[in-house]
């Protein structure tokens, strides 16, 4: 314990080593998650890219070869491809509009204080938890079916002819199904956001003479602007991948009336076994999703700064 050990001999403390060991611990904890996700994110992506430049059909695996951008060329000149793009955009936008509008309405309604409100909320939220194929089938068979479905019966009651939804209005039917599934999602997020709205703001507006409608427009909606933006972002990512509902109801038809990009790729890959074309379409789908994500990230970021 001698204090007289010469100070001059001391080297500068090995500060680097210490921080390195701490960082190593942090990395060891993180690494499984990161490695696993990195593999999941990059390897299939690169493979898709590679396949998209090849001519490859699983039925004729020996006839494989590099063909550059030919798959893309074919794809972009196919009318069914552009139909799929349009169908995808139509469906996503329509569902977004429906779910947000309904979500705002429902959340306003559910934000009220009434007896049994928790039960009512559960009932509104329930559709989100239903298996997608089941949701599709409920609507297809029990409700939409022109002969035995409930809606057909109701229409007959008021003297209107029964509608074969999936034959004449397949897209609308699909949009109704998907909107029914996803409105709870929007409602939940907006409801949570509403509950963080200070009720005193609304009381102040009331004192200022604003009627209910105006209170909603000028105070509630601006408060919801950011959550709505976030909901749009999250929903559109998931909506681009809607699959089971299409498979169970229309299988993309009639014709390709309800074939979205996702369904098109499915047909190409697992029904036609045309790997090259499916991969090219897959790459385009990823690019589309990234464009959507990018624009929405920007909109959200702008809202976040506000």
């Amino acid at each position: 314990m001698s204090a007289s050990v010469s100070i001059a001999n001391r080297a500068v403390a090995p500060a680097d080593l210490l921080s390195r060991s701490r960082r190593r611990v942090a990395w060891t904890l993180l690494s499984p998650a990161v490695i696993v996700l990195a593999l999941w994110a990059f390897v299939p992506l690169i493979m898709t890219l590679l396949y998209s430049f090849q001519r490859y059909n699983l039925l004729y695996p020996e006839r494989r070869g590099f063909v550059g951008f030919r798959n893309y060329g074919y794809l972009l000149s196919e009318s069914s491809f552009w139909t799929a793009i349009i169908n995808t955009i139509v469906m996503v936008v329509a569902v977004l509009v429906a779910t947000i509008v309904l979500g705002v309405l429902f959340s306003l309604l559910l934000n009220q204080n009434f007896k049994g409100r928790a039960v009512a909320r559960l009932m509104v939220i329930a559709p989100f938890f239903v298996l997608p194929p089941v949701a599709a089938l409920i609507w297809k068979n029990l409700l939409f079916d022109p002969l035995y479905g409930l809606i057909g019966w109701l229409l007959k009651l008021v003297g209107l002819p029964a509608v074969a939804w999936f034959t004449h209005f397949p897209m609308i039917a699909l949009i109704i199904i998907v909107a029914w599934e996803w409105t709870p999602f929007a409602t939940l997020i907006l409801l949570t956001a509403l509950q963080s709205l200070d009720p005193e703001q609304l009381e102040a507006a009331r004192m200022d003479g604003a009627k209910s409608v105006n209170r909603v427009i000028y105070i509630v909606l601006p408060h919801l602007a950011r959550p709505i933006a976030i909901t749009i972002m999250m929903e559109s990512i998931f909506l681009l991948s809607i699959f089971a509902e299409i498979l169970t109801t229309t299988a993309g038809g009639p014709g390709d009336a309800t074939t979205t990009l996702t369904y098109l790729i499915y047909i190409r890959a697992l029904l036609d076994f045309n790997i090259g074309s499916a991969s090219a379409a897959g790459v385009l789908a990823i690019i589309l999703a990234n464009i959507v994500a990018f624009f929405l990230m920007r909109a959200v970021a702008r809202n976040l700064e506000a």
Binding site: T48, M123, F128, W153, L270
Partner: protein, 272 residues
């Protein structure tokens, strides 16, 4: 708007909306208790004598029980795996943040934004070449990967609520990261862990895309079962409804028991 009792028309409107949204599920539930003839009766029966024959028929349908088992096993195993991997990662990000932690979190979430269809081809081919096509293992791995970002995100936001100095006190007491996780985080964050697990189970149970495309007759989940065997095989709607009710009931019950927790976890950070 919050503390006063809602007006009568307001509450009535809310109930109408709730009823309309819930009605399809209700109708399915009712149909499940009808006979096949009753299911397609015209006009549709609202009053009827409930029977269980459709449930019996659904359960005895070949493959149903197997697929139900698959759903249970795959959901549980993939969730346990996801939590096992996410736990240390969330710990590291919450309590040993570095310059890149924020970016790391955003990157993890971004992997969820990849449309699954974009990688359908390679995943299918990998599964085929490794002999994992139509196995539970394949789905466990895929589900775990799909859910990992969300589980990490939820655990991370719950961990952040734990004051850091409790862990520092443990550090002074001689507990390294591993023991801190076991003795402190596990008990203190258990509601958060439960929420994350619940969400992962629900997402995995409902997962339809990979279930349908990577499985055939052995490893499919209930989602695949209903999607595949619902093709126009006739008017066996009561049976189908019964099968569907059995398939969605567990999730509906889970979800209703824990909805508040789930909402908290999901919206943490998304909504201030």
């Amino acid at each position: 708007m919050r503390d006063q009792r809602a007006s009568l028309p307001g509450a009535a409107l809310a109930w109408i909306v709730a009823f309309l949204m819930f009605f399809p599920i209700l109708w399915m539930l009712m149909t499940a208790f009808k006979t096949e003839a009753g299911a397609i009766a015209n006009p549709p029966l609202i009053i009827f004598r409930p029977v269980l024959e459709s449930f019996a028929a659904a359960l005895s349908q070949s493959g149903y029980v197997l697929f139900a088992e698959n759903s249970i096993v795959i959901s549980l195993v993939s969730t346990v795996l996801a939590i096992a991997i996410a736990f240390p990662a969330a710990y590291s990000m919450a309590f040993q943040p570095g310059r890149r932690t924020q970016d790391m979190l955003v990157w993890m979430l971004s992997t969820k934004m990849l449309p699954p269809v974009g990688v359908l081809v390679p995943i299918y081919i990998i599964a085929r070449d490794t002999g994992l096509l139509d196995t539970r293992t394949a789905l466990v791995i895929v589900d775990m990967l799909m859910n990992l970002p969300i589980v990490v995100w939820m655990l991370f936001s719950f961990f952040r609520d734990i004051p850091k100095d409790i862990l520092e006190a443990a550090q002074m007491d001689g507990a390294g990261p591993r023991r801190q996780m076991i003795y402190l985080l596990l008990p203190l964050a258990s509601p958060g862990i439960a929420s994350a697990a619940l969400l992962a189970i629900i997402l995995s149970w409902n997962e339809a895309f990979w279930s349908i495309n990577l499985t055939a007759s052995h490893a499919g989940t209930l989602a695949a079962y209903i999607a595949r065997y619902s093709a126009p095989e006739g008017l066996f709607w009561a049976k189908l409804s019964a099968a569907s009710v059995l398939a969605v009931a567990p999730i509906l019950i889970f979800g209703s028991l824990a909805q508040r927790r789930l909402v908290r976890g999901l919206t943490a950070g998304a909504v201030k």
